[in-house]
């Protein structure tokens, strides 16, 4: 039955015990993919005709950027599920997803900034994508700050879920607006968007890295969710048994 599955997923205990079995696999897959992708990208993919070796940053920059964005939706959706179906685990996922997303957003901003120095000669420009990313970073920080500001965990969860949802409504609007703003103002001197010239031999490691980051994200999310569950359910008997058995 689909619904029993759905409700089982809502049980922290069920989630904790199932994920114990998944984790070793997930961690290994993530690490292998990341290692293969990085070595391939750093050492074996050919250098870019225009950007030389600095383009190798793409193998972490782009996957991090993808996950940063996808992470926000994951966070918001779990918040929505928590609000609508009052599923315990989904709020826990919401709590866990915010810092992970924020860290990945930071990674994409940082790598982008470092990449900018050799490419554009400056650490920072107010390009549309960069600016949207920065705003996304603030949205994450807002959700985290709100979570931390509440004393009651229940209120923290609900409040950050509302904020995440409002943010979700806004993200497409923000992206479109920033895009529009940038085309309006684009200074003639710098041109950025010529990325599609990427060679297929450069693409495979990128693909591997993107998949690797997705698995990594799932792993990190599950890990963080598990600690949150342990904290939340510290009085439950199964957690005490678990602790005594450890």
């Amino acid at each position: 039955m689909a619904w029993t599955w759905f409700h089982q997923l809502g049980s922290p205990r069920w989630f904790y015990e199932k994920s114990t079995a998944w984790l070793p696999w997930l961690i290994s897959i993530a690490l292998i993919l990341l290692a293969v992708g990085s070595i391939w990208g750093l050492g074996f993919a050919p250098a870019d005709a225009k950007q030389g070796n600095s383009y190798r940053i793409i193998y972490i920059h782009v996957p991090a950027a993808f996950l940063a964005l996808a992470g926000y939706y994951i966070m918001a959706i779990s918040g929505a599920i928590g609000m609508i179906w009052r599923m315990k685990v989904s709020f826990v996922v919401l709590r866990a997803a915010a810092p992970i997303g924020a860290i990945l957003t930071f990674v994409s901003l940082f790598t982008g900034a470092v990449w900018g120095k050799p490419t554009w000669g400056t650490w920072w420009v107010w390009d549309a994508r960069i600016t949207s990313m920065l705003i996304l970073f603030f949205l994450y920080l807002g959700v985290m700050a709100l979570q931390n500001a509440f004393e009651s965990e229940d209120a923290a969860n609900k409040a950050s879920a509302i904020l995440a949802l409002v943010g979700t409504v806004n993200i497409p609007i923000i992206y479109k607006s920033v895009d529009w703003w940038y085309t309006l103002h684009q200074p003639a001197t710098i041109k950025f968007t010529e990325a599609s010239t990427i060679d297929p031999s450069m693409k495979y490691p990128l693909l591997i890295m993107v998949i690797g980051f997705y698995v990594l994200y799932a792993t990190a999310l599950i890990l963080k969710t598990r600690t949150e569950i342990l904290q939340k359910e510290r009085k439950a008997k199964w957690v005490k048994d678990l602790a005594l058995a450890s």
């Binding site: 705003i135 996304l136 603030f138 949205l139 920080l141 807002g142 700050a145 709100l146 500001a149 509440f150 004393e151 009651s152 229940d154 209120a155 923290a156 609900k158 409040a159 509302i162 904020l163 949802l165 409002v166 943010g167 409504v169 806004n170 609007i173 923000i174 479109k176 607006s177 920033v178 529009w180 703003w181 309006l184």
Partner: protein
């Protein structure tokens, strides 16, 4: 001494008009704003003073200022709105009025809407009306004034609406003031972009109908959704 009739014991308020909560709160908040006139003028003064700082801190060159003017006025108007938002539900929360609002059988989102409307009447509207003066101070070219007025008129209302969600989320928190900024500012970006660019476009002689249309759409959207989100957020904030 007491002239109470307890006979009508059950369901006493069920026949009350849908809008009673809105009207009562609207009247009360207007009175409050009038009573605390200081607060009424504070955002205006903030607006004025920050705009005065700009030539001091950045450049007194009129040509340069003219370029900065649309964006600068918009950014400062946004800040003034934002900072005045902190008090939107805070004082109601602290003196227990918010509890009473939530326990009244009137629809919460209408009461919220009343508070937001008053907030706009008391900050956004005066800011809009003061903006041309600041335009003069920052050498804004003559073509920009119409767009400035129109965009601020539509935009500040949207800012009040969006901001009320943040104010509600932070209402129960000790000193939520700047946390509110963090939460709300990213959401303000689109309004700022279209607002400021409508003024620049007007100065450059390009039509501004598209920006105004977007600002209008934001406002309509905000009017429909924000009060509900705010009402939900208040329930969380008071409970937590």
């Amino acid at each position: 001494m007491t002239t109470v009739n307890t006979q009508q014991s059950k369901g006493v308020v069920q026949d009350v008009s849908f809008w009673a909560g809105f009207l009562a709160t609207f009247q009360r908040d207007i009175t409050l704003a009038y009573r605390n006139q200081g607060e009424l003028f504070n955002p205006l003064i903030f607006f004025l003073i920050v705009i005065t700082m700009v030539p001091l801190g950045i450049t007194p060159d009129p040509k340069m200022l003219a370029v900065l003017a649309p964006g600068m006025i918009w950014v400062v108007a946004l800040l003034a709105t934002l900072l005045s938002l902190d008090g939107l539900f805070r004082s109601d929360f602290e003196d227990g009025t918010l509890e009473q609002i939530m326990l009244s059988p009137n629809p919460l989102y209408l009461t919220v809407l009343a508070k937001v409307v008053v907030h706009w009447l008391v900050t956004g509207l005066p800011l809009t009306l003061l903006a041309p003066v600041l335009g003069v101070m920052l050498s804004l070219p003559a073509e920009g004034y119409g767009a400035l007025l129109l965009s601020l008129f539509l935009g500040t209302a949207t800012l009040s609406l969006i901001g009320s969600i943040g104010a509600a989320l932070t209402v129960g928190l000790r000193k939520g003031g700047l946390l509110l900024s963090l939460i709300v500012m990213p959401l303000y970006a689109p309004v700022l972009i279209f607002g400021a660019s409508s003024v620049s476009s007007a100065i450059e002689g390009i039509g501004i109908s598209s920006q105004v249309a977007v600002l209008g759409a934001f406002l309509a959207f905000g009017l429909m959704l924000a009060p509900f989100a705010t009402a939900g957020a208040l329930r969380v904030g008071v409970n937590g």
